[in-house]
Subunit: 154 residues, 2 copies
């Protein structure tokens, strides 16, 4: 089962995002967990590889189940672990191997092209507190079919 980790590195003004060349969709930098890693090790490694930056004190803010539905059956299932960090060290890469890196003003993120379900994750991490749990059902063209959520109450 594929497991994806990513992180929203942001301050009160803007958030560091990556525009992927495939669909021009914007995502928080991250990538696939490798065998034997913890989710925290995976997000630190992937973030460093994609941005050059080492996250300081990333906090887990969301755990999600993604289901890609085929014509009749489940086509694939994966999990995503979304972190938040307020600071990092190191120097940002001029070119990321995965796409275009940009500090985007937080208030502009709602208008960016992205996977439809990611909008809920962006709003939760950038505007809310606690851990969000949820399940997203997509079709194979990555159209969102439905989703549901539960929020951890602290």
């Amino acid at each position: 089962m594929q497991r994806i980790t990513n992180c929203f590195l942001h301050n009160t003004k803007d958030v560091l995002l990556l525009q992927k060349p495939s669909r021009n969709w914007w995502v928080p930098p991250g990538g696939k967990m490798e065998s034997g890693e913890s989710v925290r090790e995976a997000v630190l490694r992937e973030y460093r590889e994609e941005t050059g930056l080492t996250l300081l004190d990333p906090l887990l803010r969301g755990v999600f189940t993604f289901l890609v539905m085929g014509d009749e059956d489940l086509f694939s299932e994966w999990m995503m672990f979304s972190f938040e960090a307020r600071s990092s060290r190191g120097t940002i890469l001029e070119e990321s191997p995965e796409g275009k890196l940009e500090h985007v003003p937080v208030e502009r993120t709602a208008g960016l092209p992205m996977a439809e379900g990611d909008r809920t994750i962006f709003r939760h991490v950038l505007e809310d507190t606690g851990v969000l749990y949820g399940t997203f059902h997509y079709d194979r063209d990555f159209n969102l079919l439905h989703s549901h959520f539960d929020k951890e109450e602290l």
Copy 2:
């Protein structure tokens, strides 16, 4: 990939644990995530099935990678999501389908038979705060080979 969820339901005095008949090891009640569930839905369902109790406001306290090593290679890998809850509703089952349920005084948990690596998880959830991340390497007889951890700093 197998994904296990469990929960430490406890107050200041004791914690509800399950003694599994296979090795007489003690564990927090829980079980396997099913396809399409979020981790929170899985822990609520599994806890209800094993104890009769519905957890109120479970908080995620640990995300772990388990590696079972064969003679030369990795034999299997799974993940575990450990929650904590302070209250529940419903009536506890007189007999659990999975083993013996018991309210164990927190100070007695350190002396219980259990998987060696679980002692770290017990101490973290029952005595500490925040989210713990870690990786455990076991052999196929479930002897702990090594482990390492990172703690989320709030």
